[in-house]
Symmetry: C2
Subunit: 252 residues, 2 copies
DNA sequence: CGGCTGTAACTGGTCCGACCAGTGGACTAG
DNA sequence: CTAGTCCACTGGTCGGACCAGTTACAGCCG
């Protein structure tokens, strides 16, 4: 077990980085929980024995990572935020903008995740949860008469229910994040579609078919339907050569 | 389209935020490209007409987002970094730590992702890529005689090849991240297993079966095998009640 | 003339002290 | 008990200062 000593390249650790680390560690250990407050900047200056500039740089990093939020004048100090997906989403959007992440990759990811979630859900679902799914279908139908945004929200609720039934919050979060990224990338195009009402009705119809398959207990068919639907819904925004990769995802 | 005026809650925009925005915009527009350099902090002070503290806070945010890197003493100024997924990964690790993900959720996620990637890979793989897979098998076999760490590394290489063949870097990133989290959670237990050599040999055998199915073009079987293998490999560390959820993932 | 070295001009990291607009709670007047 | 005032304190920004380290260049030596 004692190999020859592999020395690590030493690089200077900035003071503000160590502050960030300490806060994140406290958060990971549970010493700090969302909703709690950090001491004021001037108090942190005393505790960490650094200057206010250093404390502030650390706070800026934490803030940009979605860990805390500072509000001027708040006597309670910076607030520890609950975890949110916005930072995660921001990073994905950034990657997508520079083509490190193509739209087809994002959609392919969703096809996989959503299909898998539906498959598991069709096996684990209780009768109550099935009813819950069908309620969201009703809500989607009603939202069509409002506007696209409402429909999109109802659709989100449907997929959230699915993800929850699948007993895997990681799936749920990933789905949410990627869905948000996809929408920010093509929302303008969708909004400009003339036949948006027809699209919504078709999408609703597809969702209903999926639920039907779930009720029948045919997870295999339900998952395939879901993937097919997502492909139909988004394929138009994906350049042709990449569509083949997506089509490979439909069948199993 | 003209609804009643929905006023947005107005919040003060900090100066350093606007600097961040300007830099990111220049990056998105292509005025700034990876490898280029930003002016020195003191020069930015002049250009943005703010104090150095403000410039530095902006740079810290950009740095924590993986956009630039500052090195002390570098006369060329901060460097624009190529886009990488490390920032995305950082956020995911944070998600995994904060969101109280259970081991079974993480493993279930991997079963889904890896299975899907293998399925797609078995359809899209070229002969060269198949050969590449088989090379990693050889490397895994050799690594068994070294130690568990080497084997783990070779295993990682295998899954990386799979993810790459699946033409979806998001799958690759997610797999990497979740795999890392799982390993940090149970690596000690695995290391203490007496029969680790037997486990490694068995794992290698399973991988070989998967590759065989891929070569035969049976993505369905390959994916099922992969999920089964992962279940067998990790199920021992998952409490019984949650295992059922995982078993639901094996069949499709 | 080429290679090495020492230096000087810069860089980023950190500190200090100061000012401002705004917040929120305590305190007071009704 | 309520409504209004006030003040201590907050975060945001500024300007200046010092330090250790890097880099490029000029000049020295071989």
């Amino acid at each position: 077990m004692t190999k020859n000593p592999r020395f690590q390249p030493v690089q200077p650790v900035r003071a503000y980085q160590r502050i960030v680390e300490q806060v994140e560690e406290a958060l990971a250990r549970g010493d700090l929980a969302p909703g709690q407050r950090l001491p004021s900047e001037r108090e942190l200056v005393a505790q960490f024995a650094v200057s206010r500039s250093t404390v502030r740089e650390a706070l800026r990093v934490l803030e940009s990572n979605g860990v805390v939020r500072s509000r001027p004048g708040d006597p309670n100090g910076p607030e520890i935020l609950p975890f949110s997906q916005t930072a995660l989403r921001k990073q994905m959007v950034r990657l997508a903008r520079v083509d490190e992440l193509t739209l087809s990759e994002l959609i392919g990811f969703r096809m996989i995740m959503d299909g898998a979630a539906i498959q598991v859900a069709s096996r684990l679902r209780t009768p109550e949860e099935l009813a819950e799914m069908e309620e969201t279908l009703v809500a989607m139908r009603a939202a069509i008469d409002v506007d696209f945004e409402a429909f999109s929200e109802a659709d989100l609720a449907f997929h959230d229910v699915i993800a929850r039934i699948s007993r895997n919050s990681l799936i749920q979060t990933c789905n949410d994040v990627v869905r948000g990224v996809v929408l920010t990338l093509i929302s303008d195009k969708i909004a400009h579609a003339q036949n948006s009402r027809a699209l919504m009705l078709e999408s609703l119809q597809h969702h209903a078919e999926v639920v039907k398959a779930i009720r029948a207990g045919d997870g295999h068919a339900a998952a395939r339907l879901a993937r097919q639907n997502m492909y139909d819904y988004y394929a138009g925004y994906v350049p042709e050569p990449e569509r083949e990769t997506l089509r490979a995802l439909i069948d199993d």
